[in-house]
Symmetry: C2
Subunit: 476 residues, 2 copies
Amino acid sequence: MNAPTDIAHLAPDIRLRDVPEALLTALRERFGAQCSTAQAVREQHGRDESAFVSVPPPAAVVFAESTKDVADAVALAAAHEVPVIPFGVGSSLEGHLLAVQGGISIDVSRMNRVLSVNADDLTVTVQPGVTRRQLNEEIKSTGLFFPIDPGADASIGGMTATRASGTNAVRYGTMRENVLALEVVTASGEVIRTGTRARKSSAGYDLTRLFVGSEGTLGVVTEITLRIYPLPEAVSAAICSFPSIEAAVRTTIEIIQLGVPIARVELIDAHSVRAVNRHSKLTLREEPMLLMEFHGSPASVQEQAETVQELATGHGGNAFEWAATPEERTRLWTARHNAYFAAVQSRPGCRVITTDTCVPISRLADAMLDSVSEAEASGIPYFLVGHVGDGNFHVGYLIDPDDAGERMRAEDLNHRLVARALAVGGTCTGEHGVGLHKMGFLLDEAGSGAVDMMRTIKRALDPKNIMNPGKIFALD
Amino acid sequence: MNAPTDIAHLAPDIRLRDVPEALLTALRERFGAQCSTAQAVREQHGRDESAFVSVPPPAAVVFAESTKDVADAVALAAAHEVPVIPFGVGSSLEGHLLAVQGGISIDVSRMNRVLSVNADDLTVTVQPGVTRRQLNEEIKSTGLFFPIDPGADASIGGMTATRASGTNAVRYGTMRENVLALEVVTASGEVIRTGTRARKSSAGYDLTRLFVGSEGTLGVVTEITLRIYPLPEAVSAAICSFPSIEAAVRTTIEIIQLGVPIARVELIDAHSVRAVNRHSKLTLREEPMLLMEFHGSPASVQEQAETVQELATGHGGNAFEWAATPEERTRLWTARHNAYFAAVQSRPGCRVITTDTCVPISRLADAMLDSVSEAEASGIPYFLVGHVGDGNFHVGYLIDPDDAGERMRAEDLNHRLVARALAVGGTCTGEHGVGLHKMGFLLDEAGSGAVDMMRTIKRALDPKNIMNPGKIFALD
């Protein structure tokens, strides 16, 4: 692993490519009011939730309303060899939306229709601008739900691009397991379909999985077919406080190793609980805490809960509190989903450097505890939340964006944390993607042979390097 | 869809490439007794369980014992631009192992070690020649198991290459969901690693999923890290006979739509039951039958079984018989796994053309019943088995290989069956792969844009077209 002083991602590598006036004219002609070059619009599309600042915004924003719009915009950009950056709701944590090589933004937020709900087949097909909450609202009456829930109310297109997951992944999998098929506009502006509505297939290369997690670097996703699930007959949720992070993690490890089909098991540390209490006006015990949910038949839910309560008690867990009503559960999970933003608000003006390692479950306690010790010793405000059932956790370092020394110290902590995860067979990113921030880590994790193979695929499918260039890996 | 008279796969497209004597000399020098050019050995490696015959065998067989052996063999073949065909146990149903462009076979069956069992993390890493039964035998003492079970005792390498599944996929997923990481020898003889032991990752392009199902056309898999699962606390299995295939299928559809976490739900038709009775000396009622298995806690298993029994009764299911002991269960599932071979033996000297469509569950009854009617009307002996919980079923047409007319009629039935599956959003292959037999169907299913993208990837990663060429799609 490179020394921290080599951290290429302290400042992004900006190499602006020319956006010829002829392209802007052509976009205005084709798209009229759907194309904007207003400064405020461009700036809004040139940033995200990452800790990066000071990258010039894209030259124009096209508000696509159809697959044809996307295809035409990409074809025009391709003709002028100009970069294209797809934009959903702007909730990336890794700099995916920054126009580091200039270019145009294609905003798909107006492509927000649920195209078909096949309740009998447990599938749904949506446009990329549909958000996860909108989707669940629209299918509520069918008795079905879509489980993938990153913290933000992200767009399904963005979640596809980053291979997102969230709190339900331990039971329902991630976008990798839940995207069945895609419609994609390729780098030349062609429209292709990958996959079918069949639950499984051995029909050729898995193009669906190639696009899931490709971070907009191979094409723009314009339709997504997803698996959805029957709402469980019974649901119960509980919180349990622990004397230490270690006790909470050891409880989780036992839950997973025993094969309890728990639907959610989330860790939040005392810093996060404090921020959540303040943000959501709650009075949770300010100790490390597991938030859990059980899905199934009434008997199965009760059985799971009893098993878990026993395991928790064995590790000093106390104050096992049940959220029995749907309203209480919603309040609990909303609080969990707000943990990130609550923590950010606890240090006004800060930016967050977020880690996202995921390790084999048996190594989770060690990987996490060393990182917590180092964060404590650094004096930098931080918080920890974890999808611990998957071995995935996030430390957020709340840095003063104007303090270069603090940023460097936080990146150093991040570096050590990732190195530990890789050393035990883990990954540098469980769900946020590589973007700008983790390009060096990807090389450490996958090795130059595998990254070279990714580059070869990128060059073959996007020979002009116009699809969200400068993300995941450097091409030269 | 092309007219049946265009069926390109009635006879494989054989275009033998030159295998220079210099390569054979170099292989003998490097591999000594591990390299064979004996006629019998070559012939054994030039065929599989598909209905294809009369393709000349590979020019040599290398029995690889290590990743280095594979890498060296591929590098030598690459230097001479000679095709390489990986070989596991030879159980492909789709012509994957046929040397349609000549070349050499790399037999990985001696690479049959379980390299590591990480019981605490529910992962295992194996060499590609390990078979599924061997793996389960070797990890039995850990209380864990690997659920993917195609009919044959296939190699894990072959199962990876074809994205295999089997009877447990409805609960545990397929190879797509259960391969975590790979070691691969690329077309140039380099060794790369894809993925980690983390349960989820967003670290760059999903090379793991690209290789899973690539049928040996992008590289040779030399190590596979798999998810394994705790043996369920309780298991119960049952069979239930139905008055019609439709009644059995309608029961299955309701089981899935209700979200019952059934572990296995397999349909076998009366022809298959008859063959199984004869082959395994059983006395099952010769009617359409569901074979089911329930995994979970004792209470959960009982609850699932009660729900299913009620649904089955609603469709005229009768003779619900329980297999309570492990021995009874093993006998039942062995009979199911032998259904294919039992049916083949019911017509001495026959070859089998096997269909493998998978459709959205709500369309399963229609897709299946029309195919059964047509098969009945054709007079060709056939059998039907189905992983019906996934919407996947196989009709096996038992043809006389010397009767060109019968082969043509069976291919015509196959064609109609696939057309129906594609029309309702299904796939031409749920688990067997494309191989030689389904290249035309893949084009119908995925469209020329998606298949062209597959070709572009193939050309980029295997510029000399030496990795199992002529499979999945034609390159020219």
